[in-house]
Amino acid sequence: MTKTIAARLKSTVALAAIAGQLSLLAGPASAFCGFYVAQADTKLFNKSSKVVLTRDGSKTSVTMASDYEGEPKEFALVVPVPTFIERKQIGVVDMKTIDHLDTFTAPRLVEYHDEDPCTPPIPMMSYASGAAQPASAVEDRAVRYKGVTVEANYDVAEYDVSILSAKESDGLVNWLEDNGYKIPSGAETVLGSYIKQNMRFFVAKVNLGRMQVLGNGYLRPLQVRYETAKFMLPLRLGTVNANGPQDLIIYALTKNGRVETTNYRTVKLPTGLDVPLYVKGEFGKFYKAMFDRAVENEGMRAVFVEYAWDMGWCDPCAAEPLANKELVELGARWIGDDDDRPYRSGRGANAYVTRLHVRYDAAHFPEDLAFLETRDRETFQGRYVLRHPWQGNASCSNANEYRKSLSVRFGQQARNLAILTGWPSQEIEARMKETGQSPQTR
């Protein structure tokens, strides 16, 4: 009986354009505001997905991780891909590796401590750490699944993967629905558009039996590798019927330089600004407010750069450098080594990471994201600065001037915070006073 019910339960689908999953399926996503002290973790953003996109010439690899929190049996993924995919081009990646890259590239809070104003300044810096069942068996399959070809079925770790090609969206929708992929209304036209562009469909569901045998207890990110002239990420399916905007973090690993979107504005987030000391206790909340405001300022029509840096070095490092094998696991197979050693340090390395953060919905992002790898190797990081005033005794003439300069500095920090986050100035000033920073108001 239970079996029958289980079999009749149609698996719902986190219908993904790459990784944007339907929010209604995900469990109560938790926002860890204020939990991460010094890093703006992607977990801050509800309904967020992560994609590691690597590109070497036309060799492309896409690793998809979503914050899917529902039942594994209800998980499903539909991703348009530009070519046929062989078994050896599909794999699963350890979530820890993506988390490592996430931490390594996360926007960070750095701290400086003022020196004794009575001694010559020696700048010092420390890093604040932490850094189905067929619906109609009687209906003729040939008619119902008209134009659909299941080109291959693969067992990939805990997933059952199929590669489909289709000639008509009707047949494809029927096939997907009969196989337990719940397709939101409106997806049909988007699928039709991909079909006409000769895209195939990479569809995956969880195989509960194998998941049990593997004993993971959670779903690992899927990776698919292929060669294509199209350097893009399909977003459109994920926006159909989506319940509000979604966040996507793209970690682009390339050989030569920064990646930018060619069909949307790529904008660097404000960075390098001094903020009041109390932000240390709520960096997550600060970062989220700042990102919300940046999105608003650009009319939600931009893709934001959070980090762009040569993988060979970092300053300050938000985490240990990635090991060669981690980079290879994520798809950067060109780097040469795949051992446990940290990716070689030194500038001019052959791996460059661009971390892009986009908040999207169908109205503001009608078209899929298209990318371009530039030769720009300039470094950029989302970095916010805390400056601790000198706390010791100081009784020289400089000390008075220093003390006077502090309130001006605090005033600037308050203004920075207000501009970045849109928080009311009075509230900021009150909070600053609580922590011993009395800003000079204009």
């Binding site: 558009s193 069909n263 009608p366």
Partner: protein, 287 residues
């Protein structure tokens, strides 16, 4: 009513003003529009233009014009066209080394003097420099020019206004091209079943505007007859569309324009019309 009256009184003045404007050299307005865009990019909304690279592109274009004017012993030095080329390069071209912008300026203006057939240069200087660098240097790329909707719209209106004020000139090719390009994008959306938001979004590229109003519409390299200009604009739009969407080539526009420019000679033979000169220009001036 009083408002109406004032307007009626002012109308002849306005017409006279517009008439005077339309007789002025369009390039002054073009320079003003491009310079404003560059200032906007450098000072306010970052489109990616860098001050040093921009200075090199503009400087190299002007210096090359001066040197070539001397070398070719031309009676008069005209710096308006090279200034437009330098500004366009600043807005479009990106490179990992600022000196690539200087090279671009030299190639652009140099080509105008060297690559001539029958007294007419064949390739748009800026477009040629971009394609030569794209093919020979791995360190350059083209800014897609995502300026945001409002800047795009204001720029489009400004460029179009300059064009309309000088309707007698042969810059109608800009509109022929934009029309063909847009029609193809909309046709594609209809074929794919995509919402029109997609082609509308695809049109909002700053790079497309500079291409349309300053490269394909370069009156010195466009066909002489109106029908010829329409045929050429449509051919470029269709070929670039095919290259971009079916061959996945980016950026297809510049490559297409440069590859197809020689057929302008053929078009001019088949559909002859009066050769263009910037007016008023002294005889022998090379612009």
């Amino acid at each position: 009513m009083a408002h109406d009256h004032t307007l009626r009184r002012r109308l002849p003045q306005l017409t006279a003003f517009l008439h005077r404007l339309s007789r002025a050299d369009a390039r002054y307005f073009q320079i003003a529009a491009l310079a404003s865009l560059l200032a906007l990019s450098l000072g306010f909304i970052d489109f990616g233009a860098k001050p040093f690279s921009s200075a090199l592109a503009i400087g190299a274009s002007l210096v090359t014009q001066i040197v070539c004017t001397r070398l070719f012993a031309l009676p008069q030095l005209d710096l308006r066209s090279p200034l437009i080329t330098g500004l366009s390069l600043s807005l479009l071209l990106r490179g990992d080394d600022p000196w690539l912008h200087a090279i671009a300026g030299v190639i652009a203006i140099g080509s105008k003097f060297v690559l001539r057939i029958d007294g007419k240069h064949i390739w748009n200087p800026g477009g040629l420099a971009i394609v030569v660098l794209l093919l020979t240097s791995r360190g350059v790329w083209i800014s897609p020019g995502q300026w945001g909707t409002s800047v795009w719209l204001v720029t489009f209106l400004a460029f179009a206004a300059i064009l309309v004020l000088h309707a007698a000139r042969r810059t109608d090719i800009a509109l022929f091209f934009l029309g063909s390009h847009a029609a193809l994008l909309f046709a594609r959306a209809i074929w794919l079943g995509d919402p029109f938001a997609i082609p509308l979004h695809q049109l909002q590229s700053g790079s497309l505007l500079i291409f349309s109003f300053f490269m394909i519409s370069d009156p010195k390299t466009a066909p002489d007859s109106r029908l010829g200009r329409f045929l050429f604009a449509f051919t470029v739009a269709a070929t670039a569309h095919w290259l971009a969407f079916f061959m996945q080539m980016r950026p297809a526009l510049y490559v297409t324009l440069i590859a197809l420019s020689p057929i302008v000679l053929l078009i001019d033979k088949l559909l002859p019309a009066e050769r263009f000169t910037w007016t008023p220009a002294p005889q022998g001036a090379l612009q």
